[in-house]
């Protein structure tokens, strides 16, 4: 019996993104089946973050088309997307719980039990009253991941989630993300710490000069793989 690939949850067709004269994405075309963990790799300036931001609806494509969960309008599916950027996307003056309570309301989530649940899931204490501005960088990254998980999205777009996180915590985060993938979520991770994802990622997407140049199952590139 042959294994059939799950239908694509994200389809990108000839995606071009220009900032003035500079083309950050130069015709990206790809299909991404659901329920997988994709690691997006490449040098600085390869277009990884731009691709992620465009998928998150934060950048408008200059040309080409994106279809997510069958919809081409971001507004129709924004509640199914969780986006984690390199900065924390949190208010420094508020505690983690206060931040998450605010963002929960934006998604129509009442009460704070869900907030406490996701804070615990990333290994932090929901009762911590310290403002986020006084968190270590690693704690801030984990709280940022908690914010991303808040609305239980089908698609997670994570930009450098492991930067400045100690190895133990990073491995914990990878395990958490692998579990989320096993529960049916589709995860895109932009990272420069690819070895962390060697066992967890289903596919490695290699980008160069605004294009996807290769997709591999393992971390090694080349025709023999």
């Amino acid at each position: 019996m042959t294994e059939t690939a799950p239908p694509p949850i994200v389809t990108v067709s000839n995606l071009i993104k220009q900032f003035g004269r500079f083309a950050a994405l130069r015709g990206v075309t790809a299909e991404f089946p659901a329920g997988k963990l994709y690691a997006i790799l490449g040098d600085n300036g390869a277009g990884k973050t731009t691709l992620l931001r465009t998928l998150a609806g934060l950048n408008r494509p200059s040309n080409g088309e994106i279809t997510i969960l069958g919809a081409s309008k971001f507004h129709d599916i924004c509640h199914e997307i969780g986006y984690m950027a390199h900065p924390s996307l949190l208010y420094d003056e508020m505690s983690g719980m206060e931040n998450l309570e605010y963002f929960a309301r934006l998604y129509g989530i009442a009460g704070n039990s869900r907030c406490a649940e996701v804070i615990r899931a990333v290994g932090l204490d929901p009762d911590l009253v310290r403002p986020v501005g006084q968190y270590s960088q690693g704690m801030r990254q984990r709280m940022s991941l908690a914010r991303t998980l808040l609305n239980d999205p089908k698609i997670l777009l994570l930009d450098e989630p492991f930067s400045n996180v100690d190895l133990h915590s990073a491995n914990e985060m990878v395990r958490l993300l692998a579990r989320a993938r096993d529960n049916g979520k589709t995860i895109f991770i932009v990272t420069h710490q690819a070895p962390l994802l060697e066992d967890a990622a289903d596919e490695f997407i290699w980008m160069e000069f605004g294009k996807i140049v290769e997709r591999t199952r393992g971390l090694s590139r080349g025709p023999e793989k």
């Binding site: 934060l58 509640h79 996307l89 403002p131």
Partner: protein
């Protein structure tokens, strides 16, 4: 998804909480207005009648400049850590954010006015001949005129390199009709003359610019 009104409420409460903790906007506005009051009171020594003639202009120009400080702060905290992106990727409507920010700024500037007006009265020995309730009405509609445009243009200048300079450049020219109406209405009421025309002009200005800002804000929020 939450109703737009509920999102406006939580966003406003969040802004008030942030301001209560940081006091960035209110402190800067207070010190600026205090300086204006003190410096001008040393520069002039007007009679009661002269005070009534110049107070309208003095008060509103002081509040306009002070409001710019608050308006810059209100969006600056959304840019720090790129928190605005978290709002943009959420299903929350853009106008809920705009109304919450405008209401927040309205509250900050109103608090400033409530604290500074007694000082203006004392330093300039002001005594209104006309009804005081009309002054309160002018203060309300005038403040709304300042903050609704100010919040909009502050959002517009958010991604520019020198947004502190950009905001006054955009805001002041478009505020001239409102400022003129505020000054004339205040002077007229203080001198015991009718201010009906100026109040109607202010209300019309508020309605027109609030509608235009609401129609355009989503494009401003999602501009790259």
């Amino acid at each position: 998804m939450s109703a737009p009104g509920a999102i406006t409420r939580v966003t406003l409460l969040k802004d008030l909480r942030l301001e209560w903790r940081s006091k960035d906007a209110i402190n800067s506005m207070l010190f600026f207005s205090l300086l204006v009051v003190v410096v001008f009171s040393f520069s002039f020594d007007p009679s009661a009648e002269e005070s009534r003639q110049i107070a309208g202009g003095l008060i509103w120009v002081a509040f306009l400049f002070a409001a710019v400080v608050a308006l810059n702060q209100t969006w600056a905290r959304e840019i720090r850590n790129q928190v605005l992106d978290a709002y943009r990727v959420s299903p929350a409507p853009a106008n809920s954010l705009f109304i919450a920010k405008t209401l927040g700024n309205f509250i900050f500037v109103t608090v400033l006015e409530a604290l500074m007006t007694p000082l203006f009265i004392v330093f300039y020995r002001l005594r209104s001949i006309g009804p005081v309730w009309q002054l309160l009405l002018v203060a309300m509609v005038g403040t709304w005129a300042l903050v609704v445009n100010g919040t909009f243009f502050a959002a517009m200048s958010l991604r520019t390199r020198s947004r502190e300079i950009m905001l006054p450049l955009l805001l002041f020219p478009i505020s001239i009709p409102a400022l003129l109406a505020m000054v004339q209405a205040t002077t007229s009421i203080l001198s015991g003359e009718g201010a009906r025309f100026w109040i109607v002009l202010l209300v019309t200005y508020d309605l027109v610019f609030t509608t235009v800002c609401l129609l355009l804000f989503e494009s401003v929020l999602n501009a790259e």
